[in-house]
């Protein structure tokens, strides 16, 4: 394989879309050619930069879409009827998005709107929040607080309104607020956020959080988050970071069980190669079968060679009889 044909296959190699034979040829070339190995590195950098540019729709936009759709279906409204304005549209209008001819005011208007949201949101946290009784399950408010009207909360969505015979009413609503917290990565409460972030939809958030968690794999909760990322994340960068983080727990039975699964099912050869490294870091008899199976069945030559070497180092037979 020459550099030109390798260059043409690198993007598809990155996305795991080559046949096992093509993958073998690219890998053999990348091993020998530093220029193409650099190209591969550029492909990874490009993918990481693009990950950071991905947008996740705000929950309230999704809520608006859902209620518009259900209204259209239930009302039998034709498609061209303009749906009623939901909170998201009102917010966009408030920050000037749909104004025409006032483009120059969009940024200051947006800034003012965000300051206003911050102000009202702050009223609902700390002492203000303490006044607002929430049921133990944390779902429905049980007491009315006059200072907290829905008008103040741009992000709230009312889910149900239930009047009772005494003239009182129970209103259940969801709130979405943005908050910023800062703290040490070693802080358990920060780690809880990172664990939650490791399964967020935004790949950039997952890469960052798993990258941070990999240095703090002391607790079982963090280990489980990394195992979950390794077994299920769609992004290979996240899975590689999770593997990196699990190095210090290579002997842990849960880790070994997941590694065995990853070796059988992960479609990315780089992940499989790293998983073998981790598996052989703590040797045990149960891994022999897994490695022998890979020698026979894995479609990638680098993976097969690595397994062969590991088995030889253990004085185990390469084949099964």
């Amino acid at each position: 394989m020459n550099c030109q044909s390798a260059g043409e296959l690198i993007p598809l190699y990155y996305y795991g879309e080559l046949s096992p034979e093509e993958e073998d040829r690219v890998e053999a070339h990348l091993y020998e050619c530093t220029a193409c190995a650099r190209e591969m590195e550029k492909q990874r950098t490009l993918a990481a930069a693009l990950d950071r540019r991905h947008r996740v729709p705000p929950p309230m936009l999704l809520d608006d879409c859902r209620s518009d759709l259900m209204a259209a279906i239930q009302g039998g409204a034709p498609r061209n009827v303009q749906p009623s304005k939901g909170p998201w549209t009102l917010f966009l209008e408030a920050v000037g998005f749909t104004f025409t001819g006032f483009a120059q005011y969009r940024q200051p208007a947006g800034a003012l709107a965000l300051i206003a949201i911050g102000f009202f949101a702050a009223r609902f946290t700390g002492a203000g929040m303490g006044k607002f009784a929430v049921q133990p399950n944390g779902q429905a408010p049980v007491a009315y607080n006059a200072s907290m009207t829905p008008d103040n909360d741009v992000f709230s969505t009312v889910r149900s309104v239930q009047p009772d015979s005494s003239g009182r009413v129970q209103i259940a609503f969801d709130e979405t607020r943005r908050r910023v917290i800062t703290g040490d990565v070693g802080d358990p409460s920060i780690q809880k956020f990172l664990v939650a972030a490791s399964s967020e939809e935004n790949p950039a958030v997952r890469v960052e959080s798993v990258g941070l968690l990999q240095t703090r794999v002391g607790s079982d909760e963090v280990r489980d988050a990394l195992l979950n990322a390794l077994a299920h994340d769609a992004n290979a960068e996240v899975r590689l970071k999770a593997l990196e983080g699990l190095k210090s727990r290579a002997g842990d039975p849960m880790v070994r069980k997941t590694l065995a699964q990853v070796l059988q099912s992960d479609d990315n050869a780089a992940v499989r190669v790293q998983a073998i490294d981790l598996m052989v870091a703590k040797r045990d008899e149960s891994m022999v079968g897994v490695l022998q199976n890979l020698v026979q069945k894995d479609g990638n030559s680098a993976v097969r060679l690595k397994c062969e070497k590991a088995l030889k180092d253990m004085n185990a037979s390469v084949g099964t009889f």
């Binding site: 490009l46 996740v56 729709p57 936009l61 879409c65 910023v180 939809e201 099912s265």
Partner: protein, 203 residues
Amino acid sequence: MAQDAAGAVGARLSPQVDSLIRAAQGGDQDAFEQLIRTYDQSVLRLAMNLLRSPEDARDVYQEAFLRVYRNLHTFRFDCSFHTWLYRIVTNICLDQLRKRKVRKEESAVVETSDGPIDRMDTFEEDGAESDPERSMWNGQLKQRIDGALQDLTPRERMVFELRHYQGLRLRNIGEMLGTTEEAAKNCLFRATQKMRSALGDFV
């Protein structure tokens, strides 16, 4: 390997989705709503990232799921529901993208007296970007990426979005777009090459 929660593989394996479809086909409104909720987040994400406008994404959402509602009785389980749904969604998005090409692409970036701002950035949690140099570099990179994405043909952009961000396999993507896996491969290759040359010194 792993895909979107509502990805083709998951959908094919889930008997729950099948029974929701059958119930919805029989007129059960709650089942229809549940079915939509299984997939609508990824549909909205796709539309918003392709069209870079919440208003247009909202239109795509509405049109796509109304079509699903009106045509669900024609779904015969001969492909995964995810593929069937995405055929509808990708068609609507491609139409929008093509119209925009004719109108010279509406940019998400608007000129203001303080310089260009990207209205989509309102959704991003940039956090405190305290290093001005880094912030400027990131800003330039964002602009360059947006420019590179806009220079892709609608089909290249669609294939790239589905493969890179939604994690779908090219075989499925080909099925959704009514083309071959090979054609989807070529699209992905061209898209990547164009972006690499547009981002040049950044990557």
